[in-house]
C-alpha cells in the first residue's frame, strides 16, 4: 500500500518535472532536499505534524527553498507536504531519481562526501565507476561531515568506501 502510494507520487512528480523540461535539475534539487529532510529531525517533525496547518507547512517549504531551488521543485515538495506525505518524501524522491536515471538508461550512484564534488569530479567519478563496474551511472552527492574526508559511493547494494572514517574505524578495530 505504501509502496504503491510512493510509486504513484513518484510517477506524478516525475511527470511534472519531465513536462516542465528540467527533469535533471529537479531531480537533483529534490534529492538534495530529501537528504536534508532525512538528516534534520526537527524539520521532518514540523512537516509531518498534523497539528500544523498545511498552509503553514507549505510556507516553511517555500521559505527553505526560496532562491535555492527551481519553482517546479518548490511546488512539487509543497504539494507532497500539503498532502501530509512529508514522511514519505525521501522514498518518493528516491523513486523519482530512479525513474529519471532509468529513463536515461543509467543507475544512481549515491556519493557521500564531506564536501561537494565539482562537475569535473562528478564526471570523472561516473567514468571511473563505468570503467570499474561497467554501469552507466549518475552521481548524486550527499554532503555528510561524518565521512571526514574521501568518498563513499553506493550503487544499489554495492558500496565503495574510500572515506577517512572507514580508515579510522579500521584503525580502531585493529587497536582492540
Amino acid at each position: 500500500m505504501v509502496d504503491s502510494r510512493v510509486g504513484a507520487y513518484a510517477d506524478a512528480l516525475f511527470a511534472v518535472a519531465a513536462a516542465e523540461g528540467n527533469l535533471a535539475a529537479v531531480e537533483d534539487e529534490l534529492f538534495q532536499f530529501a537528504q536534508a529532510l532525512g538528516s534534520n529531525d526537527d524539520l521532518l517533525a514540523t512537516l509531518t505534524d498534523e497539528a500544523v496547518p498545511a498552509v503553514r507547512r507549505q510556507q516553511v517549504v517555500e521559505d527553505l527553498l526560496d532562491g535555492k531551488a527551481s519553482a517546479t521543485t518548490s511546488a512539487l515538495v509543497s504539494m507532497v507536504v500539503a498532502a501530509g506525505r512529508a514522511a514519505d518524501l525521501p522514498a518518493i524522491v528516491t523513486a523519482v531519481v530512479e525513474r529519471g536515471t532509468a529513463s536515461r538508461n543509467k543507475a544512481v550512484a549515491t556519493v557521500r562526501s564531506a564536501i561537494d564534488l565539482s562537475t569535473d569530479q562528478r564526471s570523472r567519478l561516473e567514468a571511473a565507476i563505468h570503467t570499474s563496474t561497467g554501469k552507466e551511472v549518475e552521481v548524486k552527492v550527499v554532503i555528510d561531515p561524518s565521512v571526514l574526508g574521501g568518498v563513499i559511493t553506493e550503487i544499489g547494494d554495492d558500496i565503495i568506501d574510500g572515506s577517512i572514517r572507514r580508515r579510522l574505524n579500521q584503525l580502531r578495530e585493529s587497536c582492540r
Binding site: 562526501s113 570523472r124 565507476i129 574526508g149 582492540r176
Partner: protein, 236 residues
C-alpha cells in the same frame, strides 16, 4: 461355704449347752460343812424326839458332825460328777464326731485343696512369669541387638554423610576457586580490553581531531581525486 462355717460355729455352742443342761448340782457330791452339820443335827434331833441337850451330848452325833469337817478327795471327783461328765463327754464326742469333725475336716480339706490349688496356681504363675521374663529377656536382647545394629547403621550413615559432605564441600570450594580465578582472569582481560579501547579511543579521537584540522578544501579535493583514481584503477 457359709453353711459349713455355720456348722463349725454351732458345734461348740451345742457342746456348751449340753454341759450346762446335763451338769448336776454343785453340791451333790460335796455339800458345805454347815449344811452337813445341820442335816446331821436335824436327823439326830428327830431321832431323839426334840431333845436338844441329849442330842448335843450324844457321841454318835458328835462323831457324825466331826465327819462333816473331813475334806473331800481333791483328786477323785464324786461319782455323780464322773457319770455326768462321762455322759457329757460321750454326747459331745458323738456330736463332734458326727457333725463337727466332718465339717472341720471338710473345711480343712477344702482349705488344703484351695491352698494346694493356690500353690499350683502360684507355681503356674511363677512358671508363666519366668516364661514371660525369658521372653522379655529375649525381646530385650533382640531390642538391644536391633538398637545396636541401628546405632551402627546410623553411625555408618553419619560417617558416609560426613565424607560425602566433605567431598562435596571440597568440590564446591574447588569449583568456587576455579570460578573466582576465571572471573578474576575475565575481569583482568576485560579491564585490559577496556583500557586498550579507552586508550585507542583517546588516540583515535586525537587523530580524528588532527585529521579534521588538517582536512582543508585542497586536501579534501586531493582525497576525492585519489578516490576517483582508485575506483578507475580497480576492475570489478
Amino acid at each position: 461355704m457359709s453353711q459349713r462355717r455355720n456348722r463349725l460355729a454351732a458345734a461348740p455352742l451345742i457342746a456348751v449347752l449340753g454341759l450346762v443342761a446335763l451338769a448336776g448340782p454343785a453340791g451333790a457330791s460335796g455339800e458345805s460343812v454347815g449344811g452337813c452339820m445341820a442335816e446331821h443335827l436335824n436327823e439326830a434331833i428327830e431321832e431323839n424326839h426334840g431333845d436338844y441337850e441329849h442330842t448335843l451330848h450324844d457321841e454318835g452325833v458328835q462323831s457324825d458332825l466331826e465327819k462333816c469337817f473331813d475334806a473331800p478327795n481333791p483328786i477323785l471327783p464324786e461319782t455323780n460328777e464322773v457319770i455326768w461328765g462321762a455322759l457329757s463327754f460321750g454326747l459331745l464326742f458323738f456330736f463332734m464326731a458326727k457333725k463337727g469333725f466332718p465339717a472341720v475336716k471338710g473345711a480343712m480339706d477344702a482349705r488344703a485343696e484351695r491352698i494346694a490349688s493356690d500353690l499350683d496356681a502360684a507355681e503356674q504363675a511363677k512358671i508363666e512369669a519366668r516364661a514371660v521374663e525369658a521372653d522379655y529377656q529375649a525381646r530385650l536382647g533382640d531390642a538391644k541387638g536391633e538398637a545396636s545394629r541401628l546405632i551402627d547403621e546410623a553411625r555408618g550413615a553419619a560417617d558416609q554423610l560426613k565424607v560425602d559432605l566433605s567431598a562435596r564441600a571440597e568440590a564446591d570450594i574447588a569449583d568456587m576457586r576455579e570460578r573466582a580465578a576465571a572471573d578474576i582472569e575475565s575481569a583482568r582481560q576485560q579491564a585490559i580490553a577496556d583500557l586498550r579501547a579507552e586508550v585507542a579511543g583517546i588516540a583515535l579521537g586525537a587523530a580524528e581531531r588532527v585529521v579534521q584540522s588538517s582536512l582543508d578544501a585542497e586536501v579534501q579535493g586531493r582525497l576525492i581525486d585519489a578516490y576517483i583514481d582508485e575506483v578507475a584503477g580497480s576492475n570489478g
